[in-house]
Structure formats: C-alpha cells, structure tokens
C-alpha cells in the first residue's frame, strides 16, 4: 500500500518536469493504437473509420489519463490563489479594508489573550507561602482565587477552594 503510494508520487513528480514529453507520448500511444486497428480493419475488408467508433472519445480518455499523472488539487489551489490575488489587485480599497480588519481582529485577540494568560492562566512568578492568603489585594475577590493557583491543571478546582 505504502509502496504503491510512493511509486505513484515519484512518477508523478517526474512527470511534472517532463510534462510536454508525457503529453506527446500519450498522443503517440493512442495514435499508434488507432493506426494498428485501422490496418487490421482494412486487411479484413472493413471500413477503417470503425476504429474510431470502437475507441471512444480520445480527448476525454487523454484527459482522464493526464489527470492520473498530475497533482490536480495542487494546480487547482495554485489557480485559486492566482485568481484571488488578481481580484484583490482589481479592488485595492476592498483589499486594504480586509487587511485592516484582519490585522485589527488578530491584534485585539492576541492582546487580550496575552493579558488573560499572564493574569489568570500562568502560575505566579513568585512563591506564595500561604496559598489561602493571596498577597495581592488589588484584584476583585473572584479573581484572587484563580490567581493563587500554581498550574493550569488545578484551574477547574479554583471555584471549590
């Protein structure tokens, strides 16, 4: 299973370098098939066009084969990115507004989180000899209980103590 996957990825990566050769080879492989079939039909006194009917839709089959050799999702993703960039460049006001909104949101969230983390979640930087009597009196009563805990593991018990 893993071996199959590895061999497939190896071959597909190689196909990325030799894309045009792969296309030519496929073209040639299929035209060879058709030529041989036509010859056989002619030899048995039938219409050579019948080879095409029996073969099916060459364009569709070529596409299906090419799809096997490429990383379709990666190419789609690249095109989506490209398209997105083009759209943003087309309307710079919108792009600026979006960037500003994102910056504000991320900035505010991280600022609030670092405050909460330092105040409530992290243990105190110094040792409190008597935990039942926290030395910081400036905080409201309900904050003090959580401030006195020494690790996040006992956070849930904070209300009980």
């Amino acid at each position: 299973m893993l071996n199959e996957w590895l061999s497939s990825v190896r071959l597909r990566l190689r196909a990325m370098w030799k894309r045009s050769q792969l296309h030519r080879d496929l073209e040639e492989e299929i035209s060879f098939h058709l030529a041989m079939r036509e010859e056989k039909l002619r030899a048995s006194g039938k219409q050579p066009q019948e080879a095409q009917y029996a073969f099916g839709n060459p364009a569709k089959l070529k596409e299906a084969t090419r799809m096997l050799w490429t990383f379709r999702w990666l190419e789609d993703f690249g095109q989506d990115l490209h398209f997105g960039m083009r759209m943003l460049r087309k309307s710079p006001t919108f792009a600026l507004l979006a960037v500003f909104t994102l910056a504000l949101g991320i900035g505010a969230t991280s600022a609030i989180f670092s405050f909460v983390s330092a105040m409530l979640l992290r243990p105190l930087l110094f040792h409190i000899p008597n935990k039942s009597q926290p030395c910081i009196a400036a905080y409201p009563e309900e904050w003090r209980a959580t401030r006195a805990i020494h690790n996040i593991g006992s956070f849930g018990k904070a209300g009980a103590t």
Binding site: E28, I30, H33, A35, P58, L61
Partner: protein, 75 residues
Amino acid sequence: MEEGALYPALHRLELRGWLASEWGLSENNRRAKYYRLTAAGRKQLAIETKYWTRMTSAIGRVIEANLTQPGRQRC
C-alpha cells in the same frame, strides 16, 4: 466497453508500480510503447486471481443451490 478505456487503466497500473513501460519498435518499425509486469505487479495479479476465483466459485455455488432446490433460497 470502449477500447480506449484501456489507456487510463494501463497508466493507473503503471503509477501504482504494477507495470513498467518502455518505448520500442513494432514489427513494422513504428515507435510503440511496451508494457511489462513488475514483481509487485505479479504479486498483485496472484492476489486478484485468488479473489476472483473465490468470488466466482461462491456465485456458482449459490446458483447451483438455487437450481437443485428451487424456491428454497429467496433473494
């Protein structure tokens, strides 16, 4: 079944490492692609053959049971 459906199938087998291909010359001196089974391909063929035999023999038994005792088995 379209003849052309052979090519996606061949390429799929090649990508899985069950077939290896190389270009050579055909009898009438045209460039042609030749496929051969790899060791992994032969192993897979044995597995698939076994599975196919098991399944067809199971189907055969079901049909036979239905023929000898009609009405007993209901599908």
